[in-house]
Each structure stands twice: as C-alpha cells, then as structure tokens.
C-alpha cells in the first residue's frame, strides 16, 4: 500500500482518463474535439483499457453502447457540439439503459475558444432525463468518474459527465485512489429492454420517468451535493468551474455546491433558503439552475446581473454580485415544492382479444435472412425499418434497435470487447445510406471483426416506398444516379458479397461463409420489397400425408401459413416465395417456381 503517494498534477481531461481507469473502464472512444481531446489520448496509454478514435461522435456513442452491452464499463468523449451528432443514440439510450456502466463526457466551451457555438449541454441531461455530474477541479474530475459509473449501473442509465474548457484544460493536484471493484457482467438478451419498437419503448419511457424521481432523491442524499455553511446572509448555488470562481469571490458566503447537478435536489435548495435570505446562482451560459429555482417560487439573482454568454471568472462574479449584498434582502418566501409529474397508466387491452401487432409481409425476404441468421448463433443487433418487426414473436430475430444506423457501431464495440465475431449487424438499404456507411468505415478503420447484413429491398419500405441514393429514385420519382452498396463497401476496403435474397440456399451459404471468415464482411441480401413485386414467385403446395404439424414453418411467422386439422394450410396471401419449403424437414411442402413449368 502506498499511503503517501505523491499527488499528480493533472489537467481535468487527464484526471478523467485516470479516473476512468480507476473506475474499471475497459473501453473508451470518442471523436477529437477541443476541449475534450486529451481524455482519449491519455486513456490510450493506460493499462487494461481499449481506446479508439471513431469516425464521429454518433458512431463513438453507438460503439460504446455495444461495448457496454458486451459487459464492460465504457466511456465516450466529445466536445459539446459533438453531442448534437450523437444525440440520436443518446436520447434513446436513456430508454434502453445500459448493461455495464456507460458515461458520456461532454466538454463544453463557454467563450468559444475553439468552437462554432457555446451551447450549454446541461440541457441535454434534462432533455434525455439522465443524471449529470459536474466536477469543479481535477481531483473531482478524477473522483466523479467512478461515481458516474456506479450511478449508471445502479440506475440503469447513461450518465452525462459535463466538463468545460477551464476544467478540461485547467490543471490541479490529484491524489489517486484505490481502484473500485467492478462487478462482472456478461451480455444478456432482453428484447423488451433493448429493442425500442413502440410497444417496448412506451414501457421503458415510463421507467425513465420513475428513474428520474429516484435520481432526484439520490441527488438530495448525495455527498456530491453539499451545503457549505458561511458567515454572512448570502448563499450561492453553483456547480463545475463556476463554483470555484464564486467561492473565491465570496469566501464568507453559504454555498450549495452541486456535483450531481441534474436532477436538481430541491430540498437542499430549500435548506439553503432557510439559512440565508439572499441567494444567487453562479453559472456560465444558460440560466439552467436559476430557472429551476425560480420555478420553486424563490427569489434568486442570476442572469439579470451575470452575463449569459462567455466565460466567468471570480472578478466578474464579484462585481456582478457585490451590489446585491448591499441591498435589502428580499422578503423570505416558502418554496413551492415541485409536484411529482404524473406518469400515464398504460391503456388496458380489451380482455381476451388476440393482439394484432404489425408483421413482416407474406413473402418478405427479410424473413429468409432471419432464418439463415438464426442458424449461426450470432447476437443480431438490429436497426430501424420494416425488418425491425423481426424482433417481435415468433421470430425474435433481433436483439436491439436503438436508432437509425446504430447496428454497425454497436456490433463493432460488442465484437471489440469479446475479441471475436460475436455479433452481427442487420440494417436495411435506406438506413445503410442514412447512417450505416460511417460506422462501416469506422469498423474497418478500427479493425473490428463482424458481419454486416444489408437487407437491400430497393426502397424505404416502412414509410411507404420512398427512393434513396441506393436506388437513385428521387422525391419526384425521377431517376438519379444510384450508389451500389457492393461497390461502396469495396471502395472502403470491406469484403462484400451480394446474393439474391430469394435464393435461400445461396443466402444461407453466403452468411455461413462470412461467419467462418475472420475480419469484417458485408452480405447484401438483395431482392425488391415484395409489395413492389406484383408477380408471384411461384406456388407452394402442402403434402398432407407428410406434414406432421411440427411447427418449423410456422415459426417463420408468415401470415400465409396456418395450422390446419391434419396439416398446415396456406392462405391466398402466399406469394410462393418458398422459404417454408426450405425449412421443412419432412418434404411436406413443395415449391414450383413461377414460369418454371417443372414437375
């Protein structure tokens, strides 16, 4: 034991990196952006952590989500505007929660030293209903990372760790502490938690609202939120670097120092008002805390005297608030406690009536991809489109659906952690062009293992068959140039095979071959959406003698197949795709291709 370890002199970013290693982080990634860059740069050199630069912040977050799912604590870093790029996964990650802890570091840049705007990312914590920690010096930056991971796992939520330029690029003494014990986690399939289709997302959303109330109680109890006694009739609420400015400007004041600054601990605020009659909020940028305190019906000084733009410093804070101390204190008011928001009760389904969820159409070629993928024992990480319906019973063919284009980044992180082709990504053609190309570039660049299945049905099917760059069909239905998925992948340098999705055997063979080949590969399952194809692919017939109603074909979830009295029956919805013929082990189903004329 090293009890008198020398203090290190670390920047906030270095401290976050060291704190992450101490918190048992095994996976870290991000996209460089001032003032966040040095976190990943520092982590790269630390033992036991795999660190990556990603192609952008959205892909970085999705990759970290994959790593968290695979069971390791994961850290993602970006500058404030980077969270705009990552907002899509961030907002829905709040609903799914995490497996192992996941912390997003947003380094804001008040004063725009090196940025195009100075947006206040504290709003993102409120927007996504996730907890936020705001360290005020390097030691806290180091310490809070472990706290953030512990909150993430306890409350099943991503946590926002917010820094600003002066914290990230300021330096201070840091005493290292003993590593925290991290519980072992492995991936557990949980479709209702990770597949955010409406019926599951509505339930998760109610859990998020409940979680926020529990987090508020935690913020009330947390030692990170401290009421510091003063000797004058003046109290200041502050978090992050602004606390340091205010503390230096008013050493005799009372302070409510917020480390876990969202959700705001209302009772602690009220307690400050019991001790003093004059209260100010010192915060950079938006009146984030001030507005919430105003909402309690309490008189507070803030953005009326402190600039709402740029950086603060102790002199600015002192000059702004000093006249306030000379004034007569405002009349004391009792705080109006905020009401707990009501959470809707889910509508009761009419009793005893079978529900009718949307399903993959009869003859839909996505079904044959799922049938082939099922044989390969990979964790199928999904995306957004018609094929997301494959996650519902009876197929249960996808383990996740986070946001557009998330599947490939998640697969990359998942496989990086497990060091093998454990997960596959399933993504539609339109979604691939929307945001699947950048994570493919990323997975290639970071040399992730994996299998990407592009379900290319030549349209944006779910929303009503709109065109996309892969088809070249434009909004006015005119034909523009089309981008080929195969050539695009090869241009990146990724192995790619295109197969006819109606050719079940070829599809199965292509997937099998890809699974057995090390490295990253793409299989494009190509066939136009069955709704755009009027002609039947053939005729399927049932041999009632041979069918024993084993249910293998029924497990495909095809609406054209039903169990009859002695054998399965086919309804006239059948398109003759023949997939059921492929899965039948008794030869009870026969397929005659259209125009084939064969026996």
């Amino acid at each position: 034991m090293c009890l008198v370890e020398r203090a290190l002199f670390l920047s906030g970013n270095e401290a976050i990196a060291q704190g992450a290693a101490r918190a048992g982080v095994r996976f870290a990634c991000g996209y460089p952006g001032t003032p966040s860059t040095e976190i990943v740069e520092t982590i790269v050199g630390l033992e036991g952590v795999h660190a990556e630069w990603c192609v952008n912040e959205k892909v970085a977050l999705e990759t970290a989500v994959g790593a968290s799912l695979a069971g390791v604590r994961s850290l993602v870093t970006m500058k404030h505007v980077g969270l705009n790029v990552a907002a899509d996964p961030f907002m829905t990650l709040s609903l799914t929660g995490v497996n192992a802890g996941l912390v997003v570091v947003s380094a804001d840049d008040p004063g725009m030293h090196s940025s195009q705007n100075e947006q206040d990312n504290r709003t993102f914590a409120r927007f996504a209903k996730v907890p936020m920690l705001e360290p005020s010096d390097s030691q806290e930056a180091y310490d809070y990372v472990a706290e953030a991971f512990s909150l993430s796992e306890e409350f099943d939520t991503p946590v926002l760790l917010r820094s600003t330029t002066r914290l990230s690029h300021g330096r201070g003494r840091v005493l290292r502490r003993v590593p925290v014990p991290v519980p072992e986690r492995s991936y557990e399939r949980d479709l209702a938690k990770y597949v955010m289709v409406p019926q599951y997302a509505r339930r998760r959303n109610r859990l998020v609202l409940e979680r926020l109330q529990k987090l508020r109680r935690r913020a009330e109890e947390s030692p990170l939120n401290v009421l510091e006694a003063g000797t004058v009739d003046f109290g200041i609420v502050a978090a992050g670097i602004a606390y340091q400015y205010a503390r230096e400007a008013f050493p005799k004041a009372w302070f409510l120092k917020l480390g876990l600054s969202y959700p705001l601990p209302f009772e602690k605020v009220a307690r400050l008002y019991q001790s003093v009659s004059r209260v100010a909020v010192v915060e950079e940028l938006d009146p984030f805390l001030e507005d919430q305190i105003h909402a309690l019906g309490l008189p507070v000084v803030g953005k009326d005297v402190i600039p709402a733009d740029g950086e603060l410093d102790q002199e600015t804070v002192f000059r702004a608030l000093e006249p306030f101390l000379a004034r007569r204190p405002p009349r004391r008011r009792r705080p109006v406690p905020p009401r707990t928001p009501l959470i809707s009760t889910p509508p009761e389904l009419p009793a005893g009536l079978p529900v009718r969820p949307p399903v993959l159409c009869p003859g839909c070629t996505h079904r044959s991809v799922y049938a082939a993928l099922r044989r390969r024992k990979l964790v199928p990480l999904g995306d957004i489109g018609c094929y997301t319906l494959g996650a519902l019973p009876p197929l249960l063919a996808l383990d996740s659906c986070l946001c557009m284009g998330a599947s490939i980044g998640m697969m990359s992180g998942f496989n990086q952690v497990l060091g093998r082709k454990a997960a596959a990504a399933v993504i539609g053609d339109s979604t691939f062009f929307h945001s699947g190309v950048t994570p493919l570039i990323d997975a290639h660049y970071n040399q992730s293992d994996g299998l990407v299945l592009v379900l290319d049905n030549r349209t944006t099917a779910m929303t009503g068959h709109q065109g996309h760059p892969g088809t070249g069909v434009r909004a006015d239905r005119s034909q523009g140039p089309a981008v080929e998925v195969q050539r695009l992948c090869e241009g990146i340098g990724v192995r790619c095979t295109t197969v006819d999705a109606n050719d079940h055997k070829a599809l199965d063979a292509a997937i099998k071959s890809e699974v057995e080949t090390p490295g990253l590969g793409v299989v494009v399952a190509l066939a136009p959406c069955v709704l755009m194809v009027r002609d039947h692919a053939g005729i399927v017939t049932v041999d009632e003698e041979r069918c024993n109603l084993c249910g293998l074909c029924l497990d495909l979830g095809c609406p054209a197949l039903a169990p009859g009295e002695v054998a399965v029956t086919l309804t006239d919805a059948c398109t003759g795709c023949g997939l059921c013929v492929e899965v039948c082990r008794r030869g009870a189903l026969a397929h005659e291709p259209a125009g084939g004329g064969g026996a």
């Binding site: 409406p198 009419p350 079978p354 009718r356 969820p357 399903v359 018609c386 609406p559």
Partner: protein, 197 residues
Amino acid sequence: MNGTTTVSLVGVGGQGILLGAAVLAEAAMAEGLDVKASEVKGMAQRGGSVLSTVRFGRHVYSPLARHADLVFATELLEGLRGLDLLAPRGTLVSATTRILPGSVLRGEEAYPEELAAAAAARGVRLILLDAEELAREAGNLRAVNVVLLGAASLVLPFSPDAWERGLAAAVPAKILEVNRRAFALGRDVGARQEVPR
C-alpha cells in the same frame, strides 16, 4: 362532444382504412361541415391493427376522441376490439371478414367469435355484412372499405350527392366506377343487415 360526430375506422393494415377515412372526410366537407381527421401510419401498418378517426360538425377542435359515435370495422376481430371505442348508443358497422392474427395462426389463441353477443350486451347497434362478397360482386375485392362506407352511410347525415362528391374526390378515377357500385351495394344490403338487439 359539442355537436361533433366522431367516426373511428378500424381494420388491418392494408385494408384501405385511410381511403375510407378520406372518402368520409370529403363527403363531410361536401356537406359544408368542418372536418378533422387523424391517422396513425408507419409501424402501425404492415398487417397490424390500424385506427383512423374522422370528426365532423359545425366546428371541430380536436382531431381525435376517445369514443366514437360510429365505429367502422373492415375486419371482425378489429370490430370486436372497436366496441371499446364506442360511445353509449353508438353504432358498429363491421365486415364479417376474418384475418387471423399471428397468435391465432400459430394456434396459441382462438379467434373470438362473439361479436354479435358482445354488441348486444352493450346495447350497441350492429350492422354486420359480408363486405368481401359484396366487393367481389362490385368487381374488386379491395373495395371492402367502400362497401362498408355504403352501409355506414345509413347512419350518417350526408346526402347521396355529398357521398358521390366524397367518392369522386378521394377515389382514384381508374377505380371510381367499381367503388360507386361497392358503395351502392353496401348501402342496399346494409339496410337489411342490422343485427337485431
């Protein structure tokens, strides 16, 4: 509420609920009424349960309502589900068409058959018709929605002229004639198909 009539159209994705709602809305506008409508698209389609709501009156505020004066169902199970959407003394116009949901297809659940009894138990006026057969007679199996509109027209306060203008405005010219026949058949047969309470 406030003199506004609410019609909810329920069925299975792909049955032409949206077109039915469009004809109804156009007919209401032809009567000089204010109309608002609300539909759910996207994930709700693809063979799942769908619901569209059309509201009309002198002035309509909300485009949706918890309860409807008339529920119009292109499928029997959806009609049964639609009973919960009906206001007291409401009317249900339902097709006898059965489209089996996945759980029934897989034999996990039985297809419920008790629509007439359930409607009677709630004091609901029920018009039940074999809309598929009538659509076939009219010349297009997909005209089930308009057959039902014909039957529903019996309980809605629109003139024949308003319905004609509604059809002409909402139905593509190519299939307008078939749909005119489907509407007329639905209106004729619907008048004789009221299930006694």
